[in-house]
Symmetry: C2
Subunit: 237 residues, 2 copies
């Protein structure tokens, strides 16, 4: 590549990184706001989350377009190519995270509070803090191409699964205790599941960082694969 | 492009189309088998579905690699570029469909049958037939670049949402009637939600076919966006 081409290519990569960072910021906001809206049953905030989601989707399409055009124009090899593929993959996961947050926000619009709700929702907030910390850390790892930090996120997904399992049990108990809890607990079951899946997307991003830097997929069994425990927990309650 | 390059490029596109078709076949099999395993509580078949899923994931990675290399090597423009981007998008949706089917299969391993189960599971099977027909049709539309057929799939997603809403109500009623139904009904709630989301991915693929052929995104509000009805139905039971 000529010096000019190299500069132009670096500018393309920089722009892609900036767009992914912007998308990451929006996804983090959607996570935090959707669960805050849930905890406070704040319909107005929930509607803001729903209204924000199309911006996240547009950013994903813009990243895809920019990535594809950069590949076609510059024909990058090896680490540069992986960098661009990485931005495609990360933006896919961020779009999914935004979608899950939007889904939680939509449930806020339909939610009635009951006895179980106020007791369980604190657990949901705690779980969200864990997931949000994972998302922040993995976006840092992505921005700095830090494989160790990414692997750390990858390993910590088990904690979230454990919290998820215990919330599941708790919710089912409330449902069995009093049928009037069933509707709101069902909403919370789905919200909890969505938050757990945000955690899975954080581990996906961790895998992408590993692939970008090391040039090969993570060999170990991923922690997220095993959610049999949660299903078994469900069956046992 | 020289004649040789054009031939090589056509071979690349043909190979991508073949890989997406293969992936589509596997995803269809996962849908059908996971719900058959659920209906019959067939643990062995469920395990086969779980064992099949990594092949779907590998195919997605292979399609991504092939697509990216083809873009870098041939620098296609316009409709050819959209064709390749389309294969990337469709393979993403098929991977998600496979994941949702695997998730249903995992629940089979933890499921107990009770009174509600046998009554509701027929509805789940009917819903799956609708979704499977949607997936088949949209993969046909993709293979033949048939926008009208794709739009037809896109519009029909509402039917699936309606069936989903009525199953949701039914499940909640069983849970309220007898707390012993709660565990299995919770599993079925998640299975039903997964099947509905498979339908959403079929509409995504329909949008991709539209984009590939027309070169612009679908302007209308997509039908899948509005699942408020399902949440409201939940709240009302």
């Amino acid at each position: 590549m000529s010096e000019h081409t190299i500069r132009a290519f670096d500018a393309d990569l920089g722009e892609l990184a900036r767009m992914v960072a912007e998308m990451g910021g929006l996804a983090e906001k959607e996570i935090a706001d959707s669960v805050m809206a849930l905890a406070r049953r704040d319909v107005e905030l929930a509607q803001k989350v729903i209204a924000l989601d199309p911006s996240v989707d547009s950013l994903q399409r813009a990243i895809e377009e920019k990535a594809i055009l950069t590949i076609a124009r510059r024909q990058p090899m090896a680490v540069d190519l992986r960098d661009i593929v990485g931005s495609l993959r990360v933006s896919n996961d961020l779009e999914r995270i935004g979608d899950l947050a939007k889904n939680i926000a939509k449930r806020v619009l339909a939610l009635d509070a009951d006895i179980a709700f106020s007791q369980v929702v604190r657990g949901v907030e705690e779980m969200t803090k864990l997931v949000l910390a994972q998302v922040k850390r993995v976006l840092d790892a992505y921005a700095s191409r830090d494989v160790d930090k990414a692997l750390d996120v990858w390993r910590r997904d088990e904690e979230i699964d454990a919290v998820n399992n215990s919330l599941f049990r708790e919710l089912l108990t409330y449902m069995m205790e009093d049928p009037r809890n069933i509707t709101s607990c069902t909403h919370l079951l789905f919200c909890t599941k969505n938050i757990e899946r945000m955690g899975d997307h954080a581990t996906n991003i961790a895998e992408t960082v590993h692939y970008m830097v090391e040039g090969r997929p993570l060999a170990d069994e991923r922690p997220k694969g095993d959610d049999t425990a949660s299903f078994t927990a469900l069956a046992r309650v």
